[in-house]
């Protein structure tokens, strides 16, 4: 049995930043457990630039961003176990892990930080009918093949889904000499950032078909082609718009799901909307001493946000160990209101707040000239105008202690109000 102060599960940007913060806060015995052969998480395969514009105020590639944290971690006494897979954790904060060198490992931690990231939705989860040939990959898997292993998985590619990873892979395939026939998106708006629509798709004159989907995949051994169709407003394919597109590769970029088998094994309370643990303002889950941060909590679009929130978790874990963490007072629930899909943190504690709390919200629909409004007991305690909100771009609200300390009652509601609602009393 190994005993540690803080065990961090997952060595991606969330794990790295939380480890650094816990170390800074004076925690002595920190262990990062990573199943991959290197630290850095998904960033290692995201070779494009666009990372770090907030934290480092320059645009870095994913590996460069990771490198900065890896270099910092190496300078400290933080222990790292690579090639080590965590199999199970429990609410007493015991960890079962396995690797080739040590075999089965039992670790007991005073605090745990969950930072396992997320995984991609696959074909099975979106139910595309047809044959089951080879040549169907999720965008992240294709990204790993090309950027790490140096293998281009196909020559003529159809991409389903216009999330950021799908569009980034459209550009990557094109630059590597493959032909991308088109990107098909079932929604009427692109799933990813406008920057990626312009620089990954339009720059290379790749057709982006909105309100379209794949209705069938054909192929005996290898993909031979797909049938695509326009969809109606209820997202049902329109039969007479069906068209056959020959291709040898289908790339799916149809969403990410937080990876939470371990969280569930420790009986951590889950949010059915984010598919991640319910966390409070310290990033503590429902199990005392178990914290969570990064994509395991909800899918972030900017790694800078991941690093920032990971520091909150690192500080929280340090505070938990030395008993400084505020005793849990009666919780205040934070609810998603009008045009808000979810809010994180879902719970805040405390009778007296002395620090800003940053709320992250994801909206349901695009809306212009809106106001975000925080309501406590029916009273509007905070308002902020925003020019536009879009589902692919997370909204961040920093609420100061003097506002938080005005909260009465046990519930907060966060609304995004449209222009027409504004005049209402």
């Amino acid at each position: 049995m190994i005993e540690v102060d803080v065990a961090i599960i997952g060595g991606g940007p969330a794990g790295l930043a939380s480890a650094m913060k816990a170390c800074e806060e004076g925690v002595k015995d920190i262990l990062i457990i990573e199943r991959g052969m290197e630290l850095g998480g998904i960033l290692l395969q995201c070779i494009h630039d666009g990372f770090g514009t907030f934290i480092f105020e320059e645009t870095l590639t994913g590996p460069e961003y990771a490198q900065r944290y890896i270099d910092e971690v190496k300078k400290t006494g933080i222990n790292v176990k690579l090639n080590t897979m965590v199999l199970e954790i429990d609410s007493a904060k015991r960890i079962i892990a396995v690797n080739q060198e040590d075999g089965l490992l039992e670790i007991e931690a005073k605090a745990i930080i969950l930072s396992m990231g997320c995984r991609e939705r696959t074909r099975a989860q979106i139910l595309i009918p047809g044959d089951r040939p080879s040549g169907i990959y999720t965008a992240g898997v294709a990204q790993r093949y090309i950027n790490i292993e140096g293998v281009i998985p196909g020559k003529k590619v159809v991409i389903l889904g216009s999330g950021d990873i799908g569009m980034i892979m459209a550009r990557r395939f094109t630059l590597e000499g493959a032909e991308v026939e088109g990107v098909y998106e079932v929604m009427s708006n692109p799933g990813g950032l406008t920057r990626n629509v312009v620089q990954c798709v339009e720059d290379y004159e790749i057709p982006l078909h909105l309100s379209h989907t794949i209705t069938n995949i054909r192929g005996r051994r290898r993909v031979e082609g797909v049938t695509v169709a326009k969809v109606d407003s209820e997202m049902r394919p329109i039969k007479d718009t069906e068209r056959f597109v020959p291709c040898d590769t289908v790339i799916l970029s149809v969403g990410l799901i937080p990876e939470n088998e371990l969280s569930k094994s420790a009986d951590v309370g889950m949010d059915p909307i984010t598919n991640g643990p319910i966390v409070d303002e310290q990033m503590q889950t429902s199990v005392p001493g178990i914290f969570a941060c990064g994509n395991v909590v909800h899918v972030h679009d900017l790694v800078d946000d991941v690093s920032k929130v990971a520091e909150v978790a690192g500080k929280g874990a340090a505070g938990y160990i030395d008993g400084k963490l505020k005793k849990r007072r009666s919780p205040i629930k934070v609810r998603a209101g009008r045009n808000v899909k979810y809010v994180v943190p879902q719970i805040i504690h405390g009778e007296k707040f002395d620090e800003d709390i940053r709320f992250y919200l994801r909206v349901k629909e695009i809306e212009k000239s809106v106001k975000t409004v925080v309501l406590a007991d029916g009273e509007r305690i905070f308002e902020k105008k925003i020019k536009i909100v879009k589902p692919p771009e997370m909204v961040k609200l920093d609420i100061s202690p003097d506002i938080l300390n005005r909260i009465t009652g046990d519930e907060l509601i966060i609304d995004v109000e449209g222009e027409e609602d504004e005049e209402k009393p």
Partner: protein
């Protein structure tokens, strides 16, 4: 001849659709931009569009098979494919440090291609 070009501004989340009208490469009018930054953006995009180049290069004796690299600064957009072609001939040998120069002054742009991570010696076949 007067010509019109359409752009989507990416400077802020408003994503304004901006139209630029020019005659013999002289910009006559910019419309649809919600603010001044949009005008600057389309002027730049029309006269000298640049992009960062990021790609990978095969590594010999490395821990992994491919080294991610990038241009130090953005390069002209219309040279991206030629840069890729030029880089397709390049091989490097581990170890490499983040920031090491991999290819100097690509296509006489004055921009060099640099490594974007540390990569130590190893046997990459173990990875697969």
């Amino acid at each position: 001849m007067k010509r019109s070009h359409n752009f989507t501004c990416i400077v802020c989340p408003m994503s304004c659709q901006i139209e630029l009208i020019e005659e013999d490469d002289k910009i006559l009018e910019v419309r649809g931009n919600g603010c001044k930054r949009g005008e600057e953006y389309v002027t730049e995009e029309f006269t000298n569009p640049v992009r960062m180049l990021t790609t990978t290069i095969p590594v010999q004796e490395g821990r992994i098979a491919m080294l991610p690299v990038r241009s130090e600064r953005p390069v002209p957009k219309n040279l991206l494919r030629r840069c890729m072609k030029e880089l397709s001939k390049v091989r490097v040998k581990a170890p490499v440090r983040c920031g090491d120069m991999i290819y100097e002054n690509i296509l006489d742009t004055g921009v060099s291609i640099i490594s974007s991570r540390d990569l130590s010696i190893g046997n990459c076949s173990e990875v697969r």
